[in-house]
């Protein structure tokens, strides 16, 4: 299976942190964003780690990825889209797909034997591109490879 990232949410880890802080803060969004910028990546790491620990996976739904996927059979993709409701796949040609998923679904795919091969390919691609090093390390134990 070949996976190539087409697009991902900007500032994914800060976006997850924004969603998490939104639940507990009365402040306007600009103040939350400024607070998160000021506290920096260590604080985002704390929030993401806490969400994973508490299994509050809803906050990961705001980090979205779109990928080009090759060499995936229709039956396999059909099974995954029926099993994971936030997974969106559009068949392009032969065994090639346009795939959109959020980071919650990625975590769930990772934990499911049927979804693990796709999850591993996506996580490897994210790691190589250095898209979300903090999230990848905490959720999947992956270190970013990008320079």
């Amino acid at each position: 299976m070949k996976v190539s990232l087409a697009w991902s949410s900007p500032h994914p880890e800060r976006t997850i942190a924004v969603a998490m802080r939104r639940c507990y803060s009365t402040k306007p969004i600009e103040d939350i964003e400024a607070e998160l910028e000021q506290k920096g990546p260590e604080y985002w790491k704390y929030l993401i780690g806490k969400a994973l620990q508490d299994k509050s996976l809803d906050v990961f739904e705001h980090f979205v990825l779109t990928l080009s996927v090759e060499e995936m059979a229709q039956a396999d993709m059909g099974l995954l889209t029926r099993t994971f409701p936030y997974l969106r796949a559009t068949h392009l040609r032969l065994s090639e797909w346009l795939l959109t998923l959020n980071a919650r679904t990625l975590v769930e795919l990772w934990k499911d034997a049927r979804g693990k091969p796709l999850a591993e390919a996506v996580v490897t691609e994210l790691s190589q591109r250095g898209v979300c090093p903090i999230f990848s390390e905490l959720a999947f134990g992956m270190k970013a490879n990008a320079s």
Binding site: P28, Y86, L92
Partner: protein
Amino acid sequence: MRVKLLYHTELDAIKRVLAQKGVPFDPELVMDHIVYMFEIEDCSRVTTHQLVRHRAVSYDQESQRFSAATREGVVTPPSVQSNDAGYKAYDEALKAVYSAYEKMVTAGVPKEDARYVLPGAIKTKLVMTLNARSLMHLVWQRTALQAQWEIRELAVTLQRLAQETTPELWTKIIER
């Protein structure tokens, strides 16, 4: 009410994939892959109760378990505002509710339990992420004339922001 688009999928990134595969661009084809994240502030919980009926959407909303409610933070519908007797009744009810809330919190009742008396009019804040297909369905239903005024105002704003940033997608769909 204040609505802000926090990010959206770059349509050009999706178009590049289609071009590489030799697939012609079609708005219908990519609607599931164009995503918008919005911040919505100072709309009522009456409206967010209607909003969360829309599925395949991700929401994270300000919790009343942790934040204290204030009398100032309520939405007053225009039909109440413009009706003297109606407004008097509304105001009296809110004063009674907030007085009860504050007494409970002062007496040591946790905010998560004291909030049971709070009104649907209370203002709230949330982030919402959804794809173009879900957003178009929301807009289609909630801009209808029979939709309630506050969620209609929200739906019109969501549509305007999405249309401004991804005009090609929305214009072609609306043209159909």
